[in-house]
Subunit: 247 residues, 2 copies
C-alpha cells in the first residue's frame, strides 16, 4: 500500500467513458426534456463515471464540493451526524436521482453519501453545469425543478417525522419506495430493501425495534410478506389506510 493516492480519491474509484444520450435513465435524470443536440452538449460535461463499492462513501461531510452525482445504478443513503454520534438518515437515493446538492450552499458537503450496494455514479462538475445551464434554458429550468423537488420531498419527511405515528411512517416509506421502483420499471409489489432496520429507523425517527415491530404488525395484518430484506406488498390499500390512520 505504498502507492500515493491523491486525497479524496476513493480506492474503488474507476473512470469510465459515459454518455447521457445513450443512457436509459435520461428520462428520469438531469437530461429530461433536452433535444438531441442539447443532449450531446451535456455528454461533453458528464464524462466520467465512478464505481462505489457497498459501504464506501461517495463523499463525506466537510469535503470540498465541486460536482454533483447522478446515480447510474445502485443505491445510496445520505446522513448527517450530531457531535454525540446520533445519526439522522436524510434520504435513500436510487438510479436516476441526484446526489450532492447539499454542497452547493457552502462549497463543502454537509452530509455523507454512502453506497448501500455496489453502485455507479456519473460525475457532473458543478461549474460546468452552471455554465451549460446558462446556455440551455431547458437544462437550467429542469435543474431548478430538481432542486425544488428535493425541498418538497424534505417537507414531506418533516410532516412524517413531525406528525405521524410509527406505523404510518413505515407505511408511507414502503409506498414511497414501491412508487419509485415502479417508476424505474421494477415491480411495485416486490423488492429487496437495501438498508437495515436501523437505517430505516434513523430515516423515520424510530428505533430499529420499533421498525421491526411495525413490519411484524403489517405482516400479521396481511398487508405485506416480509422475509428479512425481501418485501412483497400484498395489500396496497391496507397500507394506504395505515398511512392515514389516526390513533
Amino acid at each position: 500500500m505504498a502507492r500515493i493516492l491523491p486525497l479524496n480519491q476513493d480506492i474503488t474509484l474507476s473512470v469510465i467513458k459515459t454518455a447521457c444520450s445513450g443512457c436509459n435513465l435520461r428520462e428520469l435524470c438531469l437530461p429530461y426534456g433536452l433535444s438531441l443536440e442539447e443532449l450531446e452538449r451535456l455528454d461533453d460535461l458528464v464524462s466520467t463515471r465512478r464505481r462505489i463499492k457497498r459501504g464506501d462513501h461517495l463523499y463525506r461531510v466537510s469535503e470540498p464540493f465541486d460536482a454533483i452525482y447522478a446515480i447510474r445504478s445502485g443505491f445510496f443513503k445520505t446522513d448527517v451526524l450530531l457531535e454525540d454520534g446520533r445519526e439522522q438518515v436524510t434520504g435513500f437515493q436510487m438510479a436516476g436521482e441526484l446526489l450532492g446538492l447539499d454542497g452547493i450552499s457552502t462549497e463543502y458537503h454537509t452530509c455523507n453519501a454512502i453506497a448501500l450496494e455496489d453502485s455507479e455514479v456519473c460525475s457532473i462538475p458543478f461549474n460546468r453545469l452552471e455554465q451549460l445551464s446558462r446556455e440551455i434554458h431547458t437544462l437550467q429550468h429542469h435543474f431548478h425543478k430538481v432542486m425544488s423537488r428535493e425541498i418538497v420531498r424534505d417537507h414531506g419527511v418533516m410532516m412524517l417525522l413531525g406528525t405521524m405515528r410509527a406505523e404510518e411512517r413505515l407505511a408511507t416509506f414502503l409506498l414511497n419506495l414501491s412508487q419509485r421502483f415502479t417508476a424505474r420499471g421494477f415491480s411495485h409489489a416486490e423488492f429487496n430493501l437495501r438498508m437495515t432496520r436501523e437505517e430505516i429507523g434513523s430515516y423515520l425517527g424510530l428505533k430499529l425495534e420499533t421498525v421491526s415491530r411495525a413490519f411484524s404488525r403489517f405482516h400479521d395484518e396481511g398487508y405485506i410478506a416480509v422475509q428479512q430484506k425481501h418485501i412483497r406488498i400484498l395489500d396496497v390499500d391496507g397500507l394506504k389506510a395505515m398511512m392515514s390512520h389516526r390513533v
Copy 2:
C-alpha cells in the same frame, strides 16, 4: 362584499415601486454579491412589492406558481397539511429570506405561506429570474446557493425531529432564532416570538403543552426569561448544553 375580485388576489395586496439597489437587506437577500450595474438590472425585475396582513396567505397549496418572494419586512410561516387536518409547520421566515421555492418543482405551490405579522414582500417573477440568471453568473450561482441552503436547513430540521428530545428541540429553535435576529442587527438576547406555542410545537413535532412546559423548565433553570411571547436569553451556554443533552 359584492365587489368582484380576480382570483388569487389578496384583498391586502398593494403594489409599490421598489428597488434592490436601495434595499438595506441586499446583503442578506438575493442580490448578495452583485455589482452595481447588475443590481440595477435586478431592479427592473423585482418591481412590485406586496403587503400581506397578519394572518393572510401569501400563497396557498395548489395555487399556480409564477414568482418567488423576498421578505422585505415581517414574519411568515410555511406549512403543509395532511387530508385529516394535521398540520406541519415547515419553517418560519424573516426579512431577507425567500419564499416560494417549493413551487418551482410542479409549477404549483406545495405549501401555504402565512404572514405572522403585517409584512411586505418583493415579488420576483420566476421566468424573468431564470432569464437574468442566464446572463449574470453571480446571480445564478447565488440563487443556487440559496436553494441548496434551504435543503441543508431542511436536513437540520430532520435531525431535530428525528433524534432530539423536546427540550433539545426548543433550545435549538431558540438559538437559531437568536442567531437569525443577530444577523439582522437585532439583539441576540431579547426578542418577541411571532408565533404561538402551537405553531412552535407544530414546527418542532411537539404539542403546545410540551412546548409550554419546556419554556417553563428553561425559565426555572435560569436560561431564559419568558413573558408570553417576549423572550430574553439569560444563559446562552445553558441553552447550548440543553441542545446536546443526552437523556
